[in-house]
Symmetry: C2
Subunit: 337 residues, 2 copies
DNA sequence: TTGAAAGCGCTAACAA
DNA sequence: TTGTTAGCGCTTTCAA
């Protein structure tokens, strides 16, 4: 904070450019002088101003990540994955949470652009096209999370949610369930929409009618799930099984049932999404390789940052996996499914 | 990315300083010209370069937070709290995780100083004094998390861990437990040490001998807890109750017991710390007002950033609260404790 | 091998 | 009310 490159120049009797050269370990500096400079730097504890450096270099050595809520282990894991590869490139990362609010999304994005971050990883509302367009205009490399970005002309990585939901639904059907509900996430969540698609696909294939009274909306966290659980408890005609938008929502439902003296899966079968590891309840869930997704996204991003500006856009799909534990009750035994 | 303030100046036929004046809504600009400028800015989608602005202003409009692991809801909540007040001041926040590694702590701190962040909130190893000293020299405002920073001459906010642990231990004793274990966190975690202190205090008061074989170390997350759980299962002389460093560790222990066909609290009583809300198991735990702690830390920090540089250091203690649920088994009924 | 000077995009006196 | 100018702390030609 106190010293500048000029100070170091004066103290060593050299010029700024020489100091700069040793700071950036450029060749062509006498070993002697180099040592001298380094020594002074060390002694006075000089740390170069990255803002000045960035202004000159037109790079900030930081990337931004816009997520919905780090409080959800899903996003926390992504963050850690991104941080790991960022760290590897000596980058810092700015984190912003939107809670799915579009207005915040735009605002935070603008802020990141203002900061001239070198890249952005984002998980936006499906229909926040305006922000994406603004981002494109800014020429800042970015990768879109959890949605197919090809139509946006962008790199993207996402899980095969539709397939995952399809498999989960088929599993429920195999276990004898017909009255199957879905507790969806936020309206503009593309994940949630894809999961709903998968469920409907399975319904179609197995001739099950879609029943709107089994469907719940706008549940993204534990509290929301708890409320849905309470509503489920009130229901006259209750689904026998429910697929929750994510594990947190599932946990909320389970909590509500437990609190009411009911138990899972005796009174309701529940399937989650994400397979977050801090779930102690033996929840059957669709596992998503979230850490790997974060890594992939970050790698894609740094690929763009260093180098190929005009490489064709990549679209990475990760497969999900149904983890069968103990939250689904078999409704009947059947010999030939 | 494309336009600079000079571009806007040219396009409007005005000077840079006038543009700057309207950008910073400084008074003394003709309403007419102001409108004209704003219009052009809007039209070409000009977003000022915050690095240049920061270089000139010697501020970055960003703060940094150094935590152990956002994957732990404890830190995630803190982050959200800090983010909220930062956002309120139009600040962004850089997040770095250390996993408790001192070398990383120093490195990340240096990086934040290099970026000239306007303030830092940190949760470091108890004995990483070197980093704190370096930070002090940098003159960047900071607040220390979870430890008493008065001896460091710094603002700090922390929970009364010792008291919390004391109460938890006394509760166990009241329930008839005598063989009480502690699964501690990382060696350099001041929280963990304080919790141990509280436990020992209770032991002293109630004449219970400290038994090293009931003590476990270096457990910070669910996996660690799981392993401790497995070791507990092997133990010949097992404690009847265990206090876990945090809820994640408690969850791991519970998971291990459940996996082995044992159950909580029948086979082991468990008390956690933090009261993270995504715990569906009815865990008795010491609740910590973590969100409030984050808010307080952030408010302290912004207080320093804007204004009083030489206000006396504040030390904010938050009280914990034992939340009794259903993970402790009463060993006997006693009329007079 | 080192230094001088211009420039990165903005702010802030001071002048006009 | 607006413009001129110097400067923030660094990098980077180009000369020496």
């Amino acid at each position: 904070m106190k010293f500048t490159i000029s100070d170091i120049a004066k103290m060593t009797g050299l010029s700024k450019s020489t100091i700069s050269a040793v700071l950036n370990s450029r060749p062509g500096v006498n070993a002697q002088t180099k040592r001298r400079v380094l020594e002074v730097i060390e002694r006075v504890n000089y740390i170069p101003n990255e803002m000045a450096r960035g202004l000159s270099n037109r790079n900030s050595a930081t990337i931004g990540i816009i997520a919905r809520d780090v409080t959800n282990p899903f996003y926390a894991k992504i963050f850690r994955a991104v941080e790991k590869v960022a760290d590897h490139h000596s980058y810092s990362v700015l984190l912003s949470n939107t809670d799915g609010d579009m207005e915040r999304e735009s605002r935070l994005l603008k802020s990141l652009i203002g900061k001239r971050v070198d890249g952005i990883i984002l998980d936006l509302n499906e229909d926040n096209l305006e922000s994406i367009l603004e981002l494109k205009k800014s020429k800042i490399p970015f990768v879109v999370f959890g949605t197919n970005g090809l139509k946006l002309q962008a790199d993207c990585v996402y899980a095969n949610d539709t397939k995952g939901a399809f498999e989960a639904t088929e599993y429920l059907i195999q276990q004898g369930h017909r009255k199957i509900g879905y507790v969806s996430g936020q309206k503009n969540s593309i994940y949630s929409r894809h999961r709903m698609d998968g469920i409907k696909d399975a319904f179609l294939k197995h001739d099950i009618a879609y029943n709107g009274t089994y469907m719940f909306e706008e549940a993204k966290n534990l509290e929301d799930g708890y409320q849905v659980g309470q509503r489920l408890l009130q229901l006259q005609d209750r689904p026998t099984a429910v697929i929750a938008y994510n594990d947190l929502v599932a946990a909320g439902i389970i909590k509500a049932f437990t609190a009411a003296g009911r138990s899972i899966p005796q009174d309701l079968s529940v399937v989650g999404f994400d397979d977050i590891d801090m779930m102690v309840f033996p929840l059957t869930t669709v596992s998503i390789p979230v850490y790997e997704m974060g890594e992939q996204a970050a790698m894609l991003l740094f690929d763009r940052i260093h180098g190929n500006e005009d490489k064709p856009y990549a679209s990475i799909t990760m497969d999900t996996k149904l983890i069968v534990r103990d939250s689904v009750r078999p409704l009947h035994l059947q010999s030939n499914p």
